[in-house]
Symmetry: C2
């Protein structure tokens, strides 16, 4: 049994942890190493259009210009690919989210909140990936963790709460802040993440400035009074 094992080739590349120091004799890095990245990018493009279940590895492979077994070669499974993509998006979104709050403390409440919404819409309307993927997948959950990278949504919300508490100098346990952030995320997932549907209901083009203006108007009307109440309550 052990005698056979040492003859077996690894036959997959998605766990580079093994054979770390074992000097490779064969063909170490012939390809530009961009196939993995191309698959990740393609995965993102496909998972923006289809839920985790509805998307297929064949769609993603086609989008990346490779055959679908390459996905299993580099990532092991559709699930692990989704997780890797979700982690990528989370890591790239985190600093952006933090920057939305820069300098708000030196402005009036209304001016500051308005600027925050503008910054947020500027980014998410151009790069709606995170909100879109959240919208597509959050609904189907029976048991959490059915969607592989679902924890990143929770981490994103927790991060935003931390940033708000830090930058806006909020104190205490403050269940109201949690509620505020949660409602805010829900609305943004609907209005930005599901904009292709939402805009159609309003008879607008989701990419048009008119729809963006509608979303800003609605967000301000819904959340500014609450935001004011939270900050004045300090």
């Amino acid at each position: 049994m052990t005698g056979i094992e040492k003859k077996i080739r690894s036959s997959s590349a998605h766990s580079p942890s093994d054979n770390l120091k074992k000097k490779a004799k064969g063909r170490p890095l012939a390809n530009d190493g961009n196939v993995r990245e191309r698959i990740l990018k393609a995965a993102r493009e496909v998972f923006i259009l289809h839920s985790f279940k509805a998307a297929s590895t064949r769609m993603i492979a086609k989008q990346a210009g490779v055959e679908h077994p390459m996905i299993h070669y580099y990532f092991g499974s559709k699930e692990k690919l989704f997780y890797a993509m979700a982690e990528t998006i989370y890591n790239e979104t985190l600093p952006v989210q933090e920057a939305w709050f820069d300098g708000l403390e030196r402005m009036s409440l209304h001016e500051g909140f308005s600027l925050f919404i503008d910054r947020m819409l500027n980014y998410t309307m151009k790069t709606p990936d995170a909100l879109r993927i959240a919208a597509l997948n959050a609904v189907n959950i029976g048991d959490i963790e059915e969607i592989p990278g679902f924890r990143f949504i929770l981490m994103s919300m927790a991060a935003m709460r931390r940033i708000m508490e830090e930058k806006l100098k909020l104190r205490g346990p403050n269940r109201e802040i949690e509620m505020f952030i949660y409602c805010f995320f829900s609305i943004m997932i609907s209005f930005v993440g599901a904009r292709s549907c939402q805009a159609q209901i309003l008879n607008m083009n989701p990419l048009d400035e008119k729809y963006r203006a509608w979303v800003k108007d609605a967000s301000m009307t819904l959340f500014y009074p609450w935001f004011k109440k939270i900050l004045i309550g300090q």
Copy 2:
């Protein structure tokens, strides 16, 4: 051609419009006529758990205790079955929705709005079908009408607007009412229609009273100030 046609049996029952007066000789209504209803009921149970695309006629047939071709026999296609189910739900929801507003005009603004939310949650938490199906399917839309019965969501929102304008004596074009109702539907689709996910984020049981209380609290905080502004603006 015509000679052949008159020999062909209808071979399906989903369009009873033809042969209306032609006296049937064979087996008119042997079955209790409940198979169609059983399929409709099963469809509702399945379409609450899975999106239109993710649900399968085989799931529905199994739930109804029949073989899956019966669905095509009675409804013609999965699409037409979904449409029939959506219409059923719409017709049963309409009067309920109207009753939520009964007598509110004789109460204080806060008392009235609070009662409205309670009535709405009492019903939708027990019968979340409409909101759940909206949540499951609204996201996937690229082109509207990809989801067969999508128009019923629009009709439901339009009906609510009409009822509000009538019962609360609102006048004018009032784009703000449209915006209010639209935001309200979005939140309810999230909090009730996708409660299995939402409650898990809050670390609650979606069927527990605690979650219901959270939703009511959030709804009041979000919408009461706006509601007040709309009515006082009259």
